[in-house]
């Protein structure tokens, strides 16, 4: 590589100035850590908010237009289910019930729980069982408990264990594993649709959502239009997740707060590293001038400064990612329900921000270095 030597000089100038290099690394690492922590928390919250959609797994959901999140279902009339079943392109449509109830445990403690009532005929949206047999859900008083971070709140029930739910006796027949934990921090019980509406007091309408499987993906538009004509909304899984995401981002203040914190983290990182890098350039300015006098071209120095800034930024980025991973791992170890997750999206965002920090820092340095005249070195 043509400029390898000049880059190596830059590398040595940078890492041999241990105090400045450490300050630069700390600044960028800290900024990346904060940006990643904020966005990881938000990603974790969204992931939890999507959990119902993820765990049920239906490809299309029909709901009242006012629904913003999966947990805030507005009951649907039974005729809607019949109407959807008769629509062109619909392979099958089933009801699902979602509600919450206070569960009285064997110890006498009351614990709130989410109750999901699956369609009796198809059990569409059933979880994978760790223990037990899904057919046992048809047994008298049968419930399947989800083995997630909230499971201990039900005193870690085993198959055969019992509880009371609105003066009805319930019995655990299976223990399930689901893909995503819920957002609300309460345990989840699965049962049949008919048992759920029997155990839990409901309004006149009892269907929370109509879950639809289509014959082909081409039918999406047709079904959406047909459902809209009835005054309801049909959303694909991704669209429903997007609606939930929009709710949390734009209507709860969480998104704004996270965005603010991310911007502040960026500014902190930029301030520390930009300032330190600028001081570093200023301290070496005469030397850069001497290099120009000796015969270094402007682009040699530009490459050198870009390399120094990029190397520092990427090292800081790696350290920041490592640090946030460690912190989240420790937090998860101590708090299994800790809602934070690192995604390629937030890693990409932090990477972009770090490149921006490197770019701005380089720009300041390059401007200064390109301005220095070798004659100034002679003049002293």
């Amino acid at each position: 590589m043509k400029h390898l030597g000049i880059l190596r000089i830059g590398f040595k100038l940078l890492i041999n100035d241990k105090a400045k290099f450490s300050a630069l690394l700390i600044g960028i690492t800290f900024a990346v850590f904060l940006m990643m922590q904020m966005t990881a928390m938000f990603a974790g919250i969204l992931n939890r908010a999507f959990s119902t959609v993820t765990n049920i797994g239906a490809s299309m959901w029909i709901m009242d237009p006012a629904v913003n999140t999966a947990s805030s279902a507005i009951p649907l009339p039974n005729y809607l289910l019949d109407a959807v079943r008769s629509m062109d392109g619909v392979l099958h449509a089933v009801p699902i019930f979602m509600g919450s109830a206070m569960v009285k445990l064997d110890s006498g403690v009351y614990q709130s729980a989410n109750v999901v009532g699956l369609d009796d005929a198809s059990l569409l949206g059933r979880p994978n069982l760790e223990q037990g047999n899904i057919q046992d859900i048809y047994a008298d008083k049968a419930f399947v408990v989800v083995h997630d971070a909230e499971y201990p709140k039900l005193e870690s029930p085993v198959i055969g264990g019992g509880f009371e739910l609105n003066d009805h006796h319930g019995r655990i027949v299976g223990i399930a594993r689901v893909a995503a934990n819920g957002l609300n921090g309460v345990p989840t019980l699965y049962t049949t649709y008919s048992r759920a509406i029997e155990y839990i007091p409901t309004t006149r309408f009892t269907i929370s959502y109509v879950l639809v499987e289509l014959k082909t993906v081409d039918a999406i538009a047709t079904v959406k239009a047909a459902v809209a004509r009835l005054g309801y909304v049909a959303l694909t899984r991704d669209e429903f997740n997007q609606r939930i995401s929009n709710f949390y981002v734009y209507r709860t203040g969480i998104g704004t707060n996270i965005l603010l914190m991310t911007v502040i983290s960026f500014i902190v990182g930029l301030s520390i590293s930009g300032q330190t890098f600028f001081t570093f350039i200023l301290e070496n300015l005469e030397k850069f001038g001497a290099l120009k006098a000796i015969g270094a071209k402007g682009r040699d120095l530009v490459y050198m400064i870009l390399f120094m800034a990029t190397f520092t930024a990427l090292t800081g980025y790696g350290l920041g990612i490592g640090l946030v991973t460690l912190m989240i791992s420790i937090a998860r170890y101590r708090l299994p329900n800790y809602a934070a997750m690192i995604t390629f999206g937030n890693m990409g965002l932090a990477f972009g921000m770090v490149l921006l920090i490197a770019g701005i820092s380089s720009y300041i340095g390059i401007r200064k270095v390109l301005k220095i005249e070798p004659f100034d070195i002679f003049r002293g």
Binding site: H3, G5, I9, K12, N16, K287, G289, A296, F378
Partner: protein, 210 residues
């Protein structure tokens, strides 16, 4: 304000030429124009018949790298690089291989009497030793013109004389010309020719022909 006015001078290969004069007389400005780092408002600087100020910026940088060797008044060594790395800089700028450049730098450190100091940082060297490192850096690229700006200003009398004697004996040859700007009359004995400058004019030759 014009720092240098109507100056005409010729330097020859194989000679050590001093330019002396009071502060503000334009010595450094003249040297900067000769070495291709300060563009004159008018006039020409001819090196082997070619006007260096007619070159493009990049070609001028290449000219400086290949033809001029600089020894700055404050040396301007990189404090975070070893002496060998400092000396190797002109070769590295010429995109020569790093290890070969360092090996070459060690040879030049040996020439200037600092054979075993290749791994030392400049701050651990005395002023005279730093001056020698700067000289090694200036001559490693094989320049035809060596420019030294107040080379003895930061040195005591004996060390200053020793350095200039060394330069005359080991660095000057028939393919090289050395231009030195100095206030230090104690080293005048080493000059082949001395030009005096006052108020931007070359006034008279203190030694040799103007």
């Amino acid at each position: 304000m014009t720092a240098v006015k109507e100056v005409g001078m010729v330097a020859h290969y194989g000679e050590m030429l001093f330019i002396v004069g009071p502060s503000g007389s334009g010595k450094t400005t003249l040297l900067s124009m000769i070495s291709g780092i300060l563009r004159p408002n008018a006039g020409k600087v001819l090196v082997k018949g070619e006007d260096i100020w007619a070159l493009t910026t990049d070609r001028l940088a290449e000219f400086r790298l290949s033809t001029i060797g600089f020894v700055f008044q404050d040396y301007h060594l990189f404090p975070r690089l070893t002496t060998a790395e400092n000396v190797a800089i002109p070769l590295i700028l010429k995109q020569k291989n790093w290890n070969e450049s360092i090996a070459e730098a060690r040879k030049y450190l040996e020439i200037v009497g600092l054979k075993d100091r290749g791994e030392t940082l400049p701050v651990k060297l005395s002023g005279g030793e730093q001056q020698r490192v700067a000289i090694a850096r200036a001559i490693i690229g094989g320049p035809e013109i060596l420019i030294m700006d107040e080379p003895t200003a930061s040195l005591d009398g004996d060390t200053g004389r020793m350095i200039i004697a060394f330069v005359k004996e080991k660095v000057l040859n028939e393919k090289r010309c050395i231009l030195i700007v100095t206030h230090d009359a104690r080293i005048n004995e080493y000059a082949d020719r001395i030009l005096n400058m006052e108020d931007g004019h070359l006034t008279n030759a203190v030694k040799g022909n103007e």
